[in-house]
Symmetry: none
Amino acid sequence: MVKQKQSVGEFLRRARQVKGMTLRAVERETQISNAYLSQLESDKIGQPSPLKLHKLCELYGVSYSVLMGLAGYPVPDHSLIDLKQVGLAARLGALTGEEETELVEYLAFLRSRRRR
Amino acid sequence: MVKQKQSVGEFLRRARQVKGMTLRAVERETQISNAYLSQLESDKIGQPSPLKLHKLCELYGVSYSVLMGLAGYPVPDHSLIDLKQVGLAARLGALTGEEETELVEYLAFLRSRRRR
DNA sequence: ATATTTTGCTTGACAGATTTAGCAAGCGCT
DNA sequence: AGCGCTTGCTAAATCTGTCAAGCAAAATAT
């Protein structure tokens, strides 16, 4: 019932086969060498570049987030943090560049003092 | 008119300074060598590993999506919310309620002072 | 049946990411 | 003045992603 964790390689190979494309066809479309594609699909690359993964996602029409997750990269979830930040931004309002610099320095001062 | 794009290096250095931490302090917490941190902050690394960026985001309390974007990586669509309004807050990082009040007060002080 | 093209794959070499070891300048303490 | 510790930085070394070139088997063509 629960689907097993698929490897990036399996996922990519499936996606390519679904599209009915060959390694060299993908190479033509993405500028990624067929050699490297082969290694990718056999899980021989530990940390493939997100840009390569993104190109493949666009070509295959699969989710970039999913693929990044499968590749072992942290996937952005901006649920809580950004809301807080939006709130803060609202309270501070628009700042001049100078004000911003002073604020940052003041905050650094606050924290370096407190931690000792 | 608001903020031009900041470099990853500037962003990371600011975030670290806001936290009041030293390169070696960050190294202790993240297992990322201070040497590499230095190169990161002076923009000498073209494609830093997302895992490293993620560790730094967690430590600094800044948005992972923002940092990934600054690093030139494609970011999943639903993370593409308006960064302009959150830009400053992202740079400041997560604040305690106390810190936030202090900052707002300090900003008020700055402005009253300037207004002559 | 054999030559030609196409397929997936491996090897060698290169570039770039990351670390280890070390440097010189700065700071507190006596 | 010195000494010890910390700071940020860099040079060299190591590891790893990426590609160009080539290979053997399968498909295709003649």
